[in-house]
């Protein structure tokens, strides 16, 4: 890949956050976790299936003008545990960290037990305890249902 192609595909951002090394295919779920949707005004670039040496293919999400905090991005570890977060200022990476699996995941994943109280009309958010990070094993705080596969399919 020559420089001009590279620039076209991955244009550097001035200020903001680059989420790199997202498991290929999970970029849209990352946006969902970050709450980026129709009402977001900032520029957001999404790259999918970018060739990657270590991962074969990866997704990348760039959020301009917003520096994401670890607490905001850690839930990404549920679906893309290898993600790295780069904080950019004046085109320079000033901070770089990996996502770390949180202890509790609230309001993001739907419980797989249809009879769980969190799947009813009650004004209650789903809440899961992360019992194991690798492999991912979540336990519903209400009905104790165990979620250990296809986590992305259970996103609200």
């Amino acid at each position: 890949m020559n420089v001009s192609e590279r620039e076209l595909r991955v244009k550097p951002i001035n200020n903001g956050t680059v989420i790199d090394h997202i498991e290929s295919g999970q970029a849209l779920n990352v946006l969902k976790i970050l709450g980026i949707g129709n009402h977001t005004k900032t520029v957001v670039s999404v790259l999918m299936n970018v060739p990657s040496g270590a991962m074969g293919a990866k997704d990348v999400v760039k959020v301009e003008g917003r520096e994401l905090e670890p607490g905001e991005v850690d839930t990404i570890a549920l679906i893309a545990p290898r993600s790295t977060i780069n904080i950019i200022r004046d085109y320079e990476v000033v901070e770089k960290f990996r996502v770390a699996m949180p202890k509790v995941v609230a309001g993001i994943i739907k419980c797989g037990n249809p009879n769980c109280i969190s799947n009813s009309d009650e004004p209650v958010n789903s809440k899961f305890y992360v019992e194991s990070a690798a492999p991912v094993l979540l336990r519903c705080s209400y009905c104790e249902f165990v979620l250990d596969k296809n986590i992305a399919d259970h996103m609200l």
Binding site: N113, N115, C116, I117, S118, S120, D121, E122, P123, V124, C140, S141, Y142, C143, E144, F145, V146
Partner: protein, 309 residues
Amino acid sequence: MIFERRHIISTKDFSREEIDFILDRAQRLEPHARRGGLDLLKNRVVATLFFEPSTRTKLSFDTAVKRLGGATIGFDSSESTSVVKGETLSDTIKIIESYSDAIVIRHPREGAARMASEISRVPVINAGDGAGHHPTQTLLDLYTMRKECKKPIGDLNVAIVGDLKYGRTVHSLAYALSLYKTRLYLVSPEQLRMPGSIINYLREHGVELLETPRIEDALRETDVLYMTRIQKERFPDPSEYIKVAGSYRITTDTLGDVKNDMIIMHPLPRVNEIDPGVDSTRHARYFQQAFYGVPIRMAVLSLVLEKEA
């Protein structure tokens, strides 16, 4: 040990020491479970919210409150409540907590009691949440073993028989017995075996267990025969149900080779797992077990409402 204002949601929330503490309290209160005469809950109101029908659990909670000098309010089916008007459980709890000092709840959905405990400022006691937990049943089961067996709980062989897949009682009981390292025989038809996650938990916690479809494998060695009901609707083929249910039926003939002091327990209601002829044998303890629900619930209520016995 502090139980004041504590919610009682799942047996798994308790350590062995805490369970023993509750059983000790129940033992002290037991003489009063038949004749009352205590005022530990004087001027206290306990709400019993039964969104699903129940006979023993509801009535034994009512009795426990009254034996301790308290009063109850509540309902025993959701049909007569605002639920039919579409009120959420969350709203119901917010209202009832202002009428009462503790809330006992049975609800058809798993996790309902846990959610109620997050909303309520008064202690919530789970009396069964769908296929989830029923901690006071487990406590009264342990109390029965402690009272009716000649050996400590940890030295017993306990055979749990019947529907081990869906039965909430047996899941909670297995977890609790793992605290005592009790040896388990898990007797069930193939399609109703105990879930793998629970088996793994038991093994990881050092429980010696044997899974078998044949009740004969357990009868001779067991100190406690814990029978449960096998529900017809679990079997797509009715003839298969009749065959399986028949193979786990206990009659006086079945009891030929059992230990002299073996006891038979059952959370009740029974259908035909235990022949009525067994009731008069020295092994039957299921009616005694049902009575022990009263002292256990007295102990739990008095502990969460913080009054020394």
